[in-house]
């Protein structure tokens, strides 16, 4: 038996503890979400009627199954509030991802063109805000966007506007916040693919008479598509379920699904409906999650 094979055995044992942890605290909780999304709201604490009571034996379990209800889900489909918050989540996520791509691509492209030594520094500069608190970065924008905040002062001083613009509690404020928070997630995968690209390809294109713009469209952009895909998914998936940014920066007229879930849970104390909203959100995210997983595997496979 080779040393490599002998080493693999204890390495597998090492995985047992984290495996058990993830099953217990990641997989099993989803079972509870599913279960409670199918149960009925109760006034008591906790606010749902328990579905299973194993002490009462098989008959009780059968009776419990008969009690399973899709009421919460039919509420989601029939109530305009839920449908509109789903649609809004999708619209916001798609729009933000497109804006992020438009802003992130030139930055990542510029980074990949820097001299080797500067690239590492630029990458560090992009990563640092990701380490800084998310909440603090949103708060920083509230400072800037408020009625007599810096942005309005600058706009007034430049005579671009005659009266202060209302920024807070608008969609533009929310988009600024989302783009600001997720920009590193878009730049890094883009930069990773752009930096790996063989520069001689562009030289070849230029030798064959392509203008820089044409060379970009025919060579650089198609080759960077895996990075575009990874960056887009890395932003799109969490933005769909975003709560803090729309809650602090957008108006209260329309909500995203994460806000609706929060409202049902904390304000209305309707746990089953909140759980049903979580299940529906998860269903919505399964296709992009699978796609992301495939991209991830392909890239890891390519690296080995």
């Amino acid at each position: 038996m080779s040393a490599r094979r002998i080493f693999a055995q204890p390495a597998r044992y090492a995985a047992i503890a984290p495996y058990v942890w993830m099953v217990l605290f990641f997989l099993v909780p989803f079972g509870f979400v599913l279960k409670i999304s199918l149960s009925q709201t109760a006034i008591a604490q906790p606010p749902y009627v328990p579905l299973f009571d194993f002490t009462e034996g098989w008959a009780a379990i059968k009776a419990a199954f008969a009690q399973l209800t899709l009421d919460n889900f039919s509420l989601l489909v029939s109530d305009n509030l839920y449908i509109s918050s789903y649609l809004r989540s999708l619209v916001v996520a798609v729009t933000s991802t497109l804006i992020l791509l438009l802003i992130g691509y030139p930055i990542a492209y510029g980074m990949a063109r820097l001299p080797q030594r500067w690239q590492a520094i630029a990458m560090m500069l992009v990563i640092i805000p990701f380490w800084t608190s998310f909440l603090i970065r949103i708060y920083a924008w509230i400072n800037i966007l408020q009625h007599d905040g810096l942005l309005n002062k600058v706009l007034l001083a430049l005579h671009l506007v005659s009266t202060p613009v209302v920024w807070l509690s608008t969609d533009s404020a929310m988009y600024i916040g989302i783009v600001y928070s997720y920009l590193p997630f878009m730049i890094l995968p883009l930069y990773a693919t752009l930096a790996r690209m063989d520069p001689s390809l562009l030289e070849a294109a230029s030798d064959l008479g392509a203008s820089p713009l044409r060379a970009f469209w025919l060579v650089t952009f198609p080759l960077s598509l895996p990075g575009v895909g990874a960056g887009a998914l890395l932003c799109f998936i969490p933005i769909v379920g975003e709560f803090v940014i729309p809650d602090l920066l957008a108006g209260s007229s329309s909500m995203m699904i994460g806000q609706t879930l929060w409202l049902e849970f904390f304000t209305n104390k309707d746990w089953p409906v909140a759980a049903a909203a979580a299940v529906a959100l998860l269903v919505l995210l399964v296709p992009p999650l699978l796609l992301y997983d495939r991209l991830q595997r392909r890239q890891l496979g390519g690296a080995n």
Binding site: A11, F25, W141, E203, P238
Partner: protein, 271 residues
């Protein structure tokens, strides 16, 4: 001609400069205004440490900060232990049953909306009749951050030359000894960086903590969040600046650790 195709253009420079300004200006402005003496956040009233004093007299805020630091330290430590074990299993364990489920469970939380993770863990804790507070938040943060630790340690481990372990075993080490004496010292910087990432992520989280904490044990982000909803307050600027300073120190340590890691890797495996 050919060189020109790869040269950096004014357009590239502009994009980079604007991008960096966009990323850093809001934070710089926040830090500057935390030293503002005026009660009005938007009027400059001269330099002062007034709002820092205010914070150190604010009992509720201090309690929340202490709670956050404890949760972050404990959860980052457990997460680093579990995440490193997971990375070893994934990289060195070759194929085993349930491997794809395992890696799926470790990747999903990286992008999973926090409202879902928070809600699902809360429902588990309620079903288990667990008292909500320090430990429930710590478990929740451990679950999230160990996935980040796994990714960091995994990439370091995957780039490590396996022949070092094999050589150690040829020289008579058993696998555990080979790991402890050869592999572990080489991945310690990545483990340290993973711990610091876990620490800062835990210090930052508001959504999962809101779901999993109990009455009377709010974390710092929960307190900040409820203050921010009411509007901008100079004291919050000061608190945020201190959190940024703490994180900056952590980043410097992490980058020193990774620098150490790359120079050690070079001396261990000269090419």
């Amino acid at each position: 001609m050919a060189r020109k195709a790869n040269a950096i253009s004014p357009f590239n420079i502009t994009a980079l400069a604007l991008g960096m300004a966009f990323l850093y200006l809001p934070i710089v402005i926040l830090v500057i205004y935390s030293f503002n003496d005026s009660r009005l956040v938007t009027v400059w009233g001269g330099w002062s440490l007034r709002w820092y004093r205010e914070f150190f007299n604010d009992r509720a805020m201090l309690d929340a900060a202490w709670m956050s630091l404890r949760v972050a330290a404990v959860s980052a430590t457990i997460a680093t232990l579990l995440g490193t074990l997971a990375a070893v299993g994934l990289v060195r364990g070759e194929r085993f049953r349930g491997r794809s489920l395992f890696s799926g469970m470790l990747y999903a939380p990286l992008v999973m909306p926090e409202v879902i993770s928070g809600l699902s863990l809360l429902l588990l804790f309620v079903a288990l009749n667990a008292e909500r507070g320090f430990w429930t938040v710590t478990i929740a943060h451990t679950t999230l951050t160990m996935c980040f630790v796994t990714v960091v340690v995994q990439s370091r481990l995957a780039s490590l030359d396996r022949s070092l372990e094999e050589a150690a075993m040829d020289l008579g080490c058993d696998p555990v000894q080979a790991f402890l004496r050869v592999t572990l010292p080489l991945i310690v910087p990545a483990i340290a960086a993973g711990w610091m990432l876990a620490f800062t992520l835990s210090l930052d989280d508001v959504v999962i903590a809101s779901f999993t904490t109990g009455p009377g044990s709010a974390t710092l982000p929960i307190r900040i969040y409820s203050e921010v909803r009411l509007g901008v307050k100079p004291e919050i600027n000061a608190i945020c600046t201190m959190v940024i300073a703490l994180i900056a120190v952590t980043i410097v340590l992490a980058s020193l650790a990774s620098k150490l890691s790359s120079s050690e890797a070079k001396s261990a495996a000269p090419l």
